[in-house]
Amino acid sequence: MKKIERKHPLAIRWFHWINFPVLLVMIYSGILIYWANDIYTIQAGQKIFFAFFPDGFYKTLSIPFRLAEGMALHFFFMWIFFINGLAYVTYTIFSGEWRYLLPNRNSFKEAWHVLLHDLYISRKKLPVKKYNGAQQIAYTAIILMGFGSLLTGLAVYKPTQFGRLTAMLGGYEWARAEHFILTIGYVLFFCVHIMQVARAGWNNFRAIVTGWEVVEENKEEETIIVDGVKEIVNKDND
C-alpha cells in the first residue's frame, strides 16, 4: 500500500523557489560587476591554471561594459535575497524545521556513508529520512554561506561605514575575494544539488513543488527516535 506523506511545508517551498531566480540574478549581476576588475585566477606560483573568466565566457553571456547595470541590479536584488534568507532562517527556527536541518553528532559519520554510497563505493543502504547527514551538512552550510555573502558583500559595498567588519575579513581586497569564492561555492553546490536531485528521482523532486511524497506504507516499517525527532525508517526502500 502506498500513501501520501507531507514533506516540505509551503513556506519552505516558497523560500526555495524565490531564492532560485534571485540568486541567479545576484550571480549574473555579480559577474557584470566582477568583469570590470577580473583579477582572480587559480594558480601555483607563476603557472596559471584558470583565469576567471575566459573571453568566450564573457562574450557568450554578453558581460562586457555593463558595470553600472550590474551594480544597479545587485543593490536592488540584494534586499530580496536578504529578506528571503532571513525569512527562511526565522521560519526554520520557529516551526521546528531546524531539527531536521541542523547536523547532529551522527551527521558526519552518516555523510561519509552517503558519500561512499553515492560514489558507488559502498552498497550499504542509506537511511530513509527527510534529510540525511550529508544533506544536513550541505543545507546548513549553504545558509552559513549566504550569511557570509551578506557580510562580505556589506564589507565591499560600504567599507568605510562598516570599516570594522571589512578589517575583520582581512581588508577590502580580501573581502572582495571572499565574496567571489562564496559565489563559486554556490555554483558548485548547485551542480551537486542538481545531480543529486536527478539521482533521487521524480518522487523526491515532486516534493519540493507539491510538498508531499508517495511512500510505501507497509509491514517492515519501524519508527525510531533520533535526537527527539520521529523518523520513519523504511527497510524496503533504497
Binding site: 500513501k3 523557489w17 553600472a68 551594480m71 544597479a72 568605510t160 561605514q161 507539491t210
Partner: protein, 268 residues
C-alpha cells in the same frame, strides 16, 4: 484482488490530480518570474538606469546615509604603505591643454541665488597658504580595484570655513537660513567636460581635501594638477581632477557617471 487494484488505481489518480494541480501553480509562478523580469527590463530609464533600479539606488542612499553613521573615518596608513606608481584612470575633462600658471579656482557661493550669485576666484598660492592636511588611504575605484595612496592639500572643511562657503545665506541674510548648509557641492573640470555632485556631509568629512600634492610632491598633470578632489568616503569617480568651478546648491548638481547609469551617492 480486484478491489485492491481498484483502490490502487484510485490512489494513482489522486496522486496525478494533486500533482497536476501543484505543477500548474508552479508553472504560473515560473511565468510570473519571467513576466516580472520582462517588466523590469522594459521599464523606461532614468539617467541611464532602469527606473525601479534608480529608485532602489535612492532608497539605498537614504538608508546608508541616514540609518548609519557617515562620519566614520577611513583607515589611514603609514607613508611606507603608499604605492609609488599611482594608477591613472579616466582622463575625462583633461583632454585639452591647460595653462596652470594662470589657473584660478572659480567658486560660486550659492548657485541657487542666481541674481545675487556671488563668485570669487582663488589662486593656488592662496589655497596653499591654508593649513595642509595629508591623507594616506585605500583609494577605491568603482571598477573594483584599490590602492593605498598618499595625498596632500587643504581640508575642504577648513577651506570652506576660511572663505565662508557652503552656507545657504552666503553673505546675505535670509530669514531662517542663517548657518544652514546647502545640500550639495558641485565641481566641474576646467573644460566643463567632467562634473560631479556631492552631498555636503561627505564634502565636510574631515578626510575630504582639495589636493595639490601626491606622494609628497606637486600633483602630476595626469593626476589632475593643479587641484583635484580627494574624498575617501566616495568611489574614485567622484575624485574630480583639474577643478575649474566649485559651487553650492540645494539641488543635485549634474553628475557625469550618474547620467551613465551609476549611483549618484557612490558612498563607501
Amino acid at each position: 484482488m480486484a478491489e485492491e487494484n481498484y483502490s490502487e488505481d484510485q490512489f494513482r489518480k489522486t496522486v496525478r490530480k494533486k500533482t497536476l494541480k501543484s505543477f500548474a501553480l508552479f508553472f504560473i509562478f515560473i511565468c510570473c518570474v519571467f513576466l516580472g523580469w520582462n517588466w523590469l527590463s522594459h521599464q523606461p530609464k532614468d539617467a541611464g538606469a532602469l527606473k525601479p533600479l534608480r529608485k532602489a539606488m535612492d532608497v539605498n542612499e537614504n538608508i546608508f546615509s541616514k540609518v548609519f553613521s557617515t562620519s566614520d573615518l577611513e583607515p589611514e596608513y603609514p607613508v611606507s604603505s603608499a604605492v609609488s606608481r599611482v594608477r591613472v584612470n579616466g582622463n575625462y575633462g583633461m583632454k585639452s591643454a591647460l595653462d596652470t600658471s594662470s589657473w584660478k579656482l572659480l567658486v560660486v557661493r550659492n548657485a541657487d541665488l542666481l541674481s545675487t550669485a556671488d563668485t570669487i576666484e582663488i589662486s593656488l598660492d592662496e589655497i596653499k597658504k591654508l593649513p595642509k592636511t595629508e591623507v594616506i588611504f585605500n583609494f577605491k575605484c568603482i571598477e573594483g580595484w584599490s590602492q593605498i595612496t598618499w595625498w596632500g592639500g587643504v581640508r575642504f572643511s577648513d577651506f570652506a570655513a576660511h572663505y565662508q562657503l557652503g552656507m545657504k545665506s552666503c553673505g546675505i541674510i535670509e530669514k531662517g537660513t542663517e548657518g544652514e548648509e546647502c545640500k550639495y557641492a558641485g565641481l566641474t573640470s576646467t573644460d566643463g567636460e567632467y562634473y560631479v555632485g556631492i552631498d555636503m556631509p561627505s564634502m565636510m568629512h574631515p578626510q575630504t581635501i582639495l589636493c595639490y600634492e601626491m606622494n609628497g610632491r606637486s600633483l602630476p598633470m595626469n593626476q589632475g594638477a593643479p587641484l583635484r578632489l580627494i574624498i575617501p568616503v566616495k568611489y574614485g569617480i567622484k575624485h574630480l581632477k583639474r577643478i575649474g568651478t566649485l559651487f553650492f546648491s540645494d539641488n543635485r548638481p549634474k553628475d557625469f557617471w550618474y547620467e551613465r547609469g551609476y549611483d549618484y551617492y557612490a558612498g563607501l
